[in-house]
């Protein structure tokens, strides 16, 4: 008779329990790491979308003539991105609404409507405000991302 055969039945049970618990712990850790990576990727995509919005806003405001379609498109994209910042998973980052407000104001408060439009130089106040608002928001997202999803 071997030593293992001599062990009581419950020893095998404990061994399997330890194996199962180990597997579960590793699985949970992998899943959590995977989720954090997905969230970081989503944040990267959001920053890229915000840069695209900045580019579109720059082109719109520096155009020679007002473009009604581009104005509507710009307002909708800005609105959509602000909503994305407030939805999962970004709601976990608790970004201040004032940063989103500043972005919408910078892009769509002045020079967006036909009757108020004039071509903006690259260093005009409107263009500078757009750059700053986008940069502030991206900065806040990245800072919160490191703090929350590291």
């Amino acid at each position: 008779m071997t030593g293992a055969d001599a062990a009581p039945w419950w020893v095998h049970g404990v061994t399997w329990l330890v194996v199962a618990a180990g597997w579960y712990t590793v699985h949970r850790a992998t899943l959590s790491r995977e989720r954090r990576r997905e969230k970081r990727d989503a944040a990267k995509q959001l920053a890229s979308d915000l840069h695209e919005l900045e580019k579109s806003a720059r082109e719109f405001h520096s155009a020679e003539r007002h473009d009604e379609y581009a104005a509507a498109e710009l307002s909708m994209r800005c609105d959509r991105l602000i909503k994305v910042v407030q939805r999962a998973p970004f709601d976990e980052l608790k970004i201040a609404p004032s940063l989103m407000t500043s972005l919408r104001r910078a892009v769509t408060c002045h020079n967006i409507d036909r009757t108020a439009f004039s071509q903006q130089a690259a260093n005009s106040e409107i263009q500078r405000n757009i750059r700053c608002a986008i940069d502030d928001l991206i900065d806040a997202i990245e800072e919160a991302k490191v703090r929350t999803w590291a």
Partner: protein, 108 residues
């Protein structure tokens, strides 16, 4: 007090745009004059403005519609408790409150 609900998307425009009447039929000025002011003139009416559903609300529209109420002669006391804003987007409510506050400050 009577409560009047105003749903921008279904009662005014799904895509409101522009600051002044000259910018189009769905501007902030038109919204303020056709929907907000007539209701607010009645001191026994509270208006609940539903912002969700409207797409691409631009700041020029919001500033003219709501900040314009102060320029039209209302003060923050008259609006307090009688102008209720509803939206899932907290930044929209924050922004409208900013416009009303800024106008009140400059008219003070």
């Amino acid at each position: 007090m009577n409560t009047v609900k105003i749903d921008i998307a279904s009662q005014f425009a799904r895509y409101p745009a522009g600051r002044y009447k000259t910018d189009g039929p769905y501007s902030g000025e038109v919204f303020r004059e056709s929907f907000l002011i007539p209701q607010l003139k009645n001191p026994d009416t509270c208006i609940v403005v539903q912002l969700d559903g409207a797409r691409g609300l631009a700041s020029s529209f919001l500033e003219e519609a709501f900040g314009g109420l102060i320029r039209a002669g209302f003060n923050t006391q008259q609006l307090h408790g009688r102008l209720v804003l509803e939206s899932k987007d907290a930044s929209l409510i924050h922004e409208i409150e900013e416009y009303i506050g800024e106008q009140a400050e400059s008219h003070h």
